[in-house]
Symmetry: C2
Subunit: 379 residues, 2 copies
Amino acid sequence: MTYPPVLIGQSVAAIDTPALVIDLDAMEANLQAMADFTREHGILLRPHAKMHKSATLAKLQIAAGAVGVCVQKTAEAEALAAGGVNDIYISNEVIAPHKLKRVVALARTLAERGGQLALAVDSLHGIAQLALAVQGQSVRIRVLVEIDVGHGRCGVQPGATAVPLVNAIAEHSTMLFGGLQAYQGRAQHLRTAVEREAAVAQVVTDVQRTITALQDAGHSVPLVTGAGSGTFGLETASGIYGELQAGSYLFMDRDYASNQAAPGQPRFQHALFLKSQVMSLCATHAVVDAGHKSHAIDSGLPAVHGLPLDYANGGDEHGQLRPQQPGGLLPALGDTVWLIPGHCDPTVNLHNVMIGVRGGLQNGVVEQLIRVDSRGALT
Amino acid sequence: MTYPPVLIGQSVAAIDTPALVIDLDAMEANLQAMADFTREHGILLRPHAKMHKSATLAKLQIAAGAVGVCVQKTAEAEALAAGGVNDIYISNEVIAPHKLKRVVALARTLAERGGQLALAVDSLHGIAQLALAVQGQSVRIRVLVEIDVGHGRCGVQPGATAVPLVNAIAEHSTMLFGGLQAYQGRAQHLRTAVEREAAVAQVVTDVQRTITALQDAGHSVPLVTGAGSGTFGLETASGIYGELQAGSYLFMDRDYASNQAAPGQPRFQHALFLKSQVMSLCATHAVVDAGHKSHAIDSGLPAVHGLPLDYANGGDEHGQLRPQQPGGLLPALGDTVWLIPGHCDPTVNLHNVMIGVRGGLQNGVVEQLIRVDSRGALT
């Protein structure tokens, strides 16, 4: 009884609404721009697959030069591994013993395929739990220590606080110290380039003094990994980071596009759109069939693509469109309206499929149905 | 590779996190309280299944006396019908010709089973499109005219504006005028009982003058349907409403619970919880593994159940807990924390399954895994 939203080869006009549509031409331009950037700067790219949640797109990124992907959840790693992704880093802490058993089982699977699994830690407790789970399992897990470089969420404080954790990792032959996880999520969304530069300068100082403390304790730091689509040019320029975790660059969203241009970074195009339809109309506003069950609102409401209209939240299943200027025109009943989601990651997570369109939103053709493999993979 | 979050018969402690858990004892008390209320007041109940999205729970409500369910989307209706629900009202407008074909096909299926499908309209265009879709299809569709009773979204203005629509419906032997759809969503969430009473008094006036206009034009109005969990006692007391659409009463959420008690309504219990785990801890805060990919934030952040902690949004996959009082205790690494979602409807839509627990959150046992059948059923 589940109807596909469209069939491959049909026109854009045939896509049932609301539906998440990828402009493949724009996405491939973004893919190429990032591949060019990382190659030119000699830095590794491990894009965050929590954004697109798709094994197909993860493999596309790896084919374009990425070393693997990041995820936030064990279940995401499992879903992407099932879809053929072999190098996965869970850039987040896992504490629960039964979940760590899954992590270890997946690490073995990936190692047998010639790939690898890595995991972040920020506590001695987490390292001890991982040690119990991996004991006798004939696999070695790459472990990165997360430091809090200003995001204020997970991670130990920068500096000498990281030393006991790396000491503990070094005590276990089942673990390999992989380096530092240092991600400043807040810096990504600061509006001006000056603010982002100041935030990343602090990040670099924090990472540097942690490296110094670890070196003083006799540990070398093989890698610093982090950065996102809002600042990766700055982390790259620092010379300290060896790997970038940017994910949103592939699709872009309204929030990232609101940032002022980041010096030293390529500009990316909007590649992710929500197709909606006007299904009610009155004198003051039009109502589209896309509410916050079809796009996330944590980073603000969607923009209306190509029309001078503002989107107001109409609840779970509706959006209200009003002219930006008094007397402005409203669309007609039945019209298609393209929305640009405020935040791509949790928007993708609401959908089972993304529809890849070739040749533009107006007259394009559906080329690909891309499954959201790790949608709802929460654990 | 998809691991079930828990197995039936296991303890609550075994539920992997984050996971959506139903306290079955509390849910059944809510179910019974609403059944008692509607029976005592002689009013029909057609709960909104956009809330739980589950055929199992829809059938439970029907077994307890509900006449059927509402949904907002054609795809939701299809998913619930596939799960054995036979009486479904799409309380929303459908405009697209290909979607109306699906509506008609589903109406035939339900009629063959002895059930029925109904649909809301608010435009002559919508009625004309439905007429084209249903022509020659040997089924009659019950059509309700939506009026805007203060919600400011869909619906024609109250009063004589509804007359041409009912005239148009009456011209088609394939349609049956089912009455008025009159839902004031904003009234549900007004904090004080006095504000809600004033809003519903206006609703009742608007409905009454629409009925009068239709009667003057020679139409009888077989039913007025609407109301939600925040105000249904008021619509019931009006004597004009014949059917209630309340849905959230079954689970309750933090937002509804923040309302002052509604005079003339039973009190409902929290029955929906998000089980989460502390996976990072520092001096100032604890971090749980549940962010806004596991609960909706459109109506505010979740409450922390039974602990003097405030939840702050930590992004897609994390939540930050801080003591409500300076010097208050934080939970330990690995501790379970139960969250009460801000808004149940879009929270359920993030999950593939709800875990039904018997005997309480502390020592209960998993009795049922309830599939979210219409999760992501957006079209």
